[in-house]
């Protein structure tokens, strides 16, 4: 555990001594504010419309804070898709390029500890990103009283989603010495996993359609956003994460063999 923590600490320091952390944080906070504002405006407009309709058709219940958070956090999930490859791209590729991997792999640390240390560091940064979205969400609590249940499940969903996608990014970064390549390839894979249900429409067999729809990483987020906790979605993200971490572990092992 101490070894893992040492690696996590070093990685987090590395994030914050390079400009990456600040650039990512700044742009992410800026974008999240921008989207929150536009979603807020949209929902307010819908609210006004429904008030007008209510005069003719009678009053209708409308969960405005819920609509805002749902819209906002769904948008965040797409933005995070673009951000995550930047968090994982250098984790192993830089070590390979600089030769520091030789230090890690000849220290009394197991390969698993190295993999987990790197992974937890990326997860920790991801959590910091998620926490910044509480700035706009906090305003919502200030001026309104949204139902906390769906918000908490949405955050849990985003966390699981991040675990899965960052494990994939971690694996990709073991395959190259170039962090730009690692970022582009991880991004490509994440895009495919995002859009895979679009391809599902062009598949004839219903089984194929079901599989492709199942693989779409964003589909599994919907229920979390609605406040529904379903084990099948949790298992989907966790198994994706475990497969990717296992591949990372194997990849480090083969790195040793190939030298």
């Amino acid at each position: 555990m101490r070894n893992i923590l040492a690696i996590v600490e070093r990685e987090l320091r590395a994030y914050f001594t390079s400009p990456i952390a600040y650039v990512v944080l700044t742009i992410f906070v800026f974008l999240s504010g921008l989207f929150f504002r536009s979603i807020l405006a949209q929902v307010l407009q819908m609210g006004l419309m429904s008030q007008l309709q209510a005069q003719q058709l009678g009053p209708r219940a409308m969960d405005m804070p819920g609509m805002i958070t749902r819209g906002f956090l769904s948008t965040m999930s797409v933005i995070l898709l673009f951000v995550m490859p930047m968090l994982t791209m250098g984790l192993f590729s830089e070590e390979k390029k600089r030769g520091t991997i030789e230090l890690l792999l000849t220290s009394p640390v197991t390969d698993l500890q190295v993999v987990l240390g790197k992974f937890f560091a990326a997860v920790a940064f991801f959590v910091i990103l998620l926490l910044t979205t509480w700035i706009p969400t906090g305003f919502l609590y200030w001026y309104s009283s949204p139902a906390s249940g769906p918000i908490l499940t949405a955050y849990l969903g985003l966390l699981l989603y991040g675990l899965a996608l960052m494990a994939i990014g971690l694996f990709i970064s073991t395959l190259t010495e170039n962090q730009i390549i690692a970022a582009v390839v991880s991004f490509g894979i994440v895009m495919v996993l995002w859009l895979v249900d679009v391809f599902a429409n062009s598949v004839d067999s219903s089984n194929g359609k079901a599989v492709l729809t199942y693989l779409s990483v964003l589909n599994h987020l919907d229920d979390f956003m609605k406040g529904v906790l379903s084990t099948s979605h949790i298992i989907f993200y966790l198994s994706l994460m475990l497969i990717a971490l296992f591949l990372t572990y194997r990849s480090i092992d083969s790195l040793r063999w190939r030298g």
């Binding site: 101490r2 070894n3 040492a6 690696i7 600490e9 070093r10 320091r13 590395a14 001594t17 390079s18 600089r98 030769g99 520091t100 991997i101 030789e102 230090l103 890690l104 792999l105 000849t106 220290s107 009394p108 640390v109 197991t110 040793r256 063999w257 190939r258 030298g259």
Partner: protein, 313 residues
């Protein structure tokens, strides 16, 4: 302390090392000598536990590198060919990280960093960013990294590369100083380094061990190949051909001439003293003999001789 047996490493296309066996005693400094690409780095990486061997075993202090990797790694300080430095960290921060992953107890870390920095004289740059340091300092930070935790075995791949002569001298003194309490394996392609620092030498070429011995013995063994330096007054082409024709003489080289006196280098057969025969030939032909001297081959010559032997055959 270190036992290497029949170590073999195959890559897809080629053999990196083949049946390499040797032992290193406790407190000894063993030099690994060979041209670039001979398999020095591969051998050291296997001992340090960075990569597994295709065949053969390595035991460090009784532990098998493959079966008890962590026990072995705890006993080894390893300086790879390129010092494994996180450039964005400060020297002290980097050594602190190394101390943590090497399992130095928390309360001893500060003391350990201080000790190591003094040992490799980098205390003055403790708070500097590694990327901003000169090559000599970087190399010493790398060496410091290997010393963290005071491991009994040190594996140093080209420890003096990139240093200036003064720093090279310092590092060599440091390594000699470390021996005794530590077992050191170092690689180099610079011969004087081996002669000055090592108790024993392993000469490796194209993945195979060519010779293992003390520098003194290697020199002695090869002195069998008698080399004589001569200065003779007379017709150079005739002298060369007559000397070459003598029994026991392998080769004659002209080294230059001055005032009608020519300098020659004569290589004789193994363990045969040809000096008196040479003198007689010169006198019988009526040339003037100004100098005749047996030359001790330097390790450099031995090294060249050993590693090029196969090509000549």
């Amino acid at each position: 302390m270190i036992t290497v047996e029949n170590l073999t490493k195959r890559y897809a296309a080629k053999m990196a090392i083949e049946s390499v066996s040797f032992q290193v005693e406790k407190g000894e400094i063993l030099g690994f000598l060979g041209p670039n690409g001979a398999g020095k780095t591969t051998t050291m990486r296997i001992i340090a536990g960075f990569m597994p061997a295709s065949d053969g075993t390595v035991r460090v202090d009784g532990f098998d590198v493959f079966e008890n990797p962590l026990d072995v790694r705890r006993r080894i300080g390893y300086l790879p060919e390129n010092p494994p430095l996180y450039l964005e960290m400060t020297v002290a921060g980097y050594l602190r990280f190394v101390a943590k992953i090497k399992g130095v107890p928390k309360e001893k870390i500060d003391l350990e960093i201080k000790r190591v920095m003094e040992r490799v004289s980098i205390t003055d740059v403790a708070d500097r960013i590694i990327a901003k340091l000169s090559k000599g300092y970087k190399q010493r930070v790398g060496l410091g990294q290997a010393l963290i935790g005071d491991p009994p075995v040190l594996i140093l791949d080209e420890p003096t590369i990139g240093l200036d002569p003064k720093q090279i001298h310092e590092v060599r003194e440091l390594i000699k100083d470390l021996a005794g309490n530590h077992t050191v394996v170092l690689s180099t392609h610079i011969l004087p380094e081996v002669e000055q620092t090592c108790n024993r030498v392993v000469i490796i070429d194209r993945g195979k061990i060519v010779a293992i011995d003390t520098p003194q013995n290697l020199r002695f063994q090869l002195q069998g190949a008698e080399r004589v330096f001569m200065e003779i007054q007379g017709p150079a082409p005739e002298i060369t051909s007559k000397l070459k024709a003598m029994p026991g003489v392998i080769d004659v080289h002209t080294l230059g001439s001055n005032d009608g006196r020519h300098r020659f280098q004569v290589d004789g057969e193994l363990k045969k003293d040809i000096r008196s025969d040479l003198a007689r030939t010169v006198v019988q032909n009526g040339w003037g003999l100004y100098e005749l001297q047996s030359v001790t081959m330097s390790l450099e010559d031995i090294f060249l001789k050993l590693t090029t032997a196969e090509e000549r055959e």
